[in-house]
């Protein structure tokens, strides 16, 4: 049972969850036990480092849980794709767990659910069969519902309920896909499905398999939150406790995106790529327009998560080996800077008790370290050199060269800059009104250390963008890349200027009266639940219909 390091990736956070739950029983030991629980995340980190070598040489590490071989038992599979997924989860979960440790209101139960969610995410990444993937998705989701409602605020409860209704409906589509696969192929293990499809002539020539793939994509798509399945995300990510928003945006949606990429690649669903590219580009643009019109700081960030996810999906849809690397590279960078942004902006919200960005006073003098870290994150997401967003957006440009969807992404990039000019005012140094901040919740030393560490990581993965991308390419494809485009070439550096100018212009346009009234209109656009369910069916039909 314990002979492979692979199984410890899954077991350690599970044990950690149990350990931290004992804090409920032994109240004086609550903090050390929570710390011990969070420290178990070091075990997956060590195990992943041990397993890097076989993954780099392009083979996948397999482990049969309980000694039952794969068609019958539950197999764990670690290949390059799931290695990156696990590594990303580990980094974000560790940062968020450390950030939450200093807070009294995050007690034993909170750490239990946080670590259960991490276990579920490892499960989604490592599982070798579709049904275990369903169970892992539900472990992640149930923990997420509890964590979103953790503070018991009215908005948190409502957001959690909305998320629950939509994602449970979505997962029923996933189960339907699992049923079709089992009925027609008789196996559920992903590698066996891949073989069965290869012998019967691919997805398109096997009965009902394109419908199965479409259902699986819709089911995971609801968790991944691209348009048209995104409607739960703004509320769920905005009204969750701040560290939970960081882990939801930073890790959870990526883990489901990677699961979808794995399924599409293993099923041989290349015919879906063009559709996904267009969905991604439209998602990026539409979500950034919504983000620009928000005045609630965390809603603004939540819409940006959807928008950046659109980038990853669009470049995955471009289909080349370099494009896949670009997609993963952007996912990794987005995980770093978006969790950083949620943690810093969350600190501003808890300090001032305000969520409207026009009512938060400038906090640059009050929270200097947080401001510096926030600007590192904001520059990263806007794609300004030398931060990591610049590096991965360069890869995306190279990966989508000549694609008709690229102009949409280009427009998105300067609207992103505009919305971060809008958001940046809350961390500018300036005079703050006296007496407003007396009762606020000041971040401690541990919190400051975490955000500074994340900011440094954002800078490092930007400066060393090319080696990082080369490493990701090797992990994904098992071979060294032929060529990775240079990150800091003169032309690309110059290309930032027009985007920055257009971004500033777009910000000016939004701050006029007309822009404000238009923003209000866009904010009102929230589809009703029945429309959303119609979207599910439309999405299912679209995914199935591209087969013809």
């Amino acid at each position: 049972m314990t002979d492979s390091p692979l199984v410890w990736v899954l077991l350690a956070p599970l044990l950690g969850a149990v350990v931290s739950l004992f804090g409920k029983l032994l109240a004086p030991l609550r903090r050390p036990l929570s710390f011990l629980g969070a420290a178990t995340l070091a075990v997956p980190a060590a195990a992943l480092a041990l397993l890097l070598e076989p993954v780099l040489s392009g083979e996948s590490v397999r482990y049969a849980l309980g000694g039952w071989p794969e068609p019958y038992g539950i197999g764990l599979v670690l290949d390059g794709l799931s290695w990156i997924s696990c590594a990303l989860t580990t980094v974000i979960a560790a940062a968020v767990a450390l950030f939450s440790l200093g807070r009294r209101r995050y007690g034993a139960g909170y750490f239990f659910f946080l670590l259960m969610m991490v276990t579920g995410m490892y499960g989604v990444a490592l599982t070798g069969d579709l049904f275990t993937m369903f169970v892992s998705f539900e472990i992640v989701a149930v923990s997420a519902y509890v964590l979103i409602a953790w503070e018991g605020t009215a908005t948190g409860l409502a957001a959690s309920y909305k998320y629950l209704v939509l994602s449970t409906t979505g997962i029923l589509f996933f189960l339907f896909g699992v049923f079709l696969v089992y009925r027609d192929l008789g196996v559920l293990s992903i590698s066996h499905i891949s073989q069965a499809l290869a012998t019967s002539g691919g997805v398109l020539n096997t009965r009902a398999m394109h419908l199965a793939l479409a259902s699986l994509c819709v089911g995971i798509g609801v968790r991944t939150a691209f348009i048209p399945f995104h409607t739960w995300l703004p509320e769920a990510h905005a009204y969750a406790p701040h560290p939970v928003s960081a882990v939801l945006s930073g890790a959870m949606i990526k883990v489901s995106l990677f699961a979808m990429i794995r399924i599409i690649l293993q099923f041989g669903g290349e015919y879906l790529l063009e559709l996904l590219m267009w969905i991604g580009a439209v998602t990026a643009l539409a979500a950034v327009i919504s983000a620009l019109s928000q005045s609630d700081v965390k809603r603004l960030l939540a819409y940006h998560s959807i928008s950046q996810l659109g980038y990853m999906l669009a470049v995955f849809g471009a289909g080349s080996a370099l494009a896949l690397t670009a997609s993963f590279s952007h996912a990794l960078n987005h995980a770093l800077f978006k969790s950083l942004l949620f943690l810093t902006v969350g600190a501003a919200v808890s300090l001032t008790g305000q969520r409207n960005l026009y009512r938060i006073p400038p906090l640059g003098r009050r929270l200097p370290a947080f401001s510096a870290a926030f600007f590192a994150g904001a520059l990263s997401i806007s794609g300004i050199p030398p931060f990591n967003g610049f590096a991965s957006k360069g890869l995306i440009t190279a990966g989508m060269k000549g694609s008709p969807a690229y102009p949409l992404l280009w427009v998105t990039s300067f609207l992103t800059i505009a919305s971060f000019i809008k958001l940046g005012r809350i961390f500018l140094p300036g005079e703050e009104p006296k007496g407003l901040l007396r009762g606020g919740d000041r971040p401690g030393a541990l919190q400051t250390a975490v955000v500074v560490a994340l900011a440094v990581l954002c800078l490092c993965t930007g400066v060393f963008g090319r080696p990082v991308a080369g490493g990701l390419y090797r992990i994904l494809h098992g071979t060294a890349p032929e060529s990775i485009p240079r990150v800091f070439s003169g032309g690309r550096l110059l290309g930032v200027l027009p985007a920055a100018v257009l971004g500033a212009a777009a910000y000016m346009a939004v701050s006029t009266d007309l822009g404000k009234s238009l923003s209000g209109r866009v904010r009102e656009l929230a589809p009703e639940l029945r429309t959303v369910l119609l979207f599910f069916f439309v999405g299912l039909l679209a995914f199935a219909a591209v087969a013809y």
Binding site: V135, V165, R183
Partner: protein, 112 residues
């Protein structure tokens, strides 16, 4: 015939989720739709044999895998429904209504 009934159950569940304003009825809808999917698996599994999958009964057994899978799915479903009902209860205490639309309107107005 049975397939059509199962499909109908699933659609009735989805109809409940979308068209009913009452949050408890939405949870019922989810539960019904979930049962539809479970019936789909179990019915398909039952076509493959004649008797319960116990070794040594002599008659052709049904495929045990769909039943095992659905046992897990039922457990997961129970967890989700229990949590959903807790959330509905807490929301009712806050807003004094079970109407999803009014709860949402009230909740998103609290901030901003």
């Amino acid at each position: 015939m049975i397939w059509a009934l199962i499909c109908l159950i699933f659609l009735v569940g989805l109809w409940g989720v979308t068209r009913k304003a009452n949050m408890v009825k939405k949870v019922m809808g989810l539960s019904i739709a979930n049962s539809g999917i479970i019936l789909l698996f179990v019915h398909y599994g039952s076509l493959s044999g004649a008797t319960a999958p116990i070794e040594g009964s002599g008659r052709p057994m049904v495929d045990p895998l769909p039943q095992a899978l659905m046992l897990t799915a039922i457990v997961v479903g129970v967890c989700v429904m229990a949590l959903a009902l807790v959330l509905v209860y807490r929301l009712y205490l806050r807003f004094g209504t079970l109407d999803m639309h009014r709860v949402e309107l009230g909740a998103w107005k609290l901030h901003d």
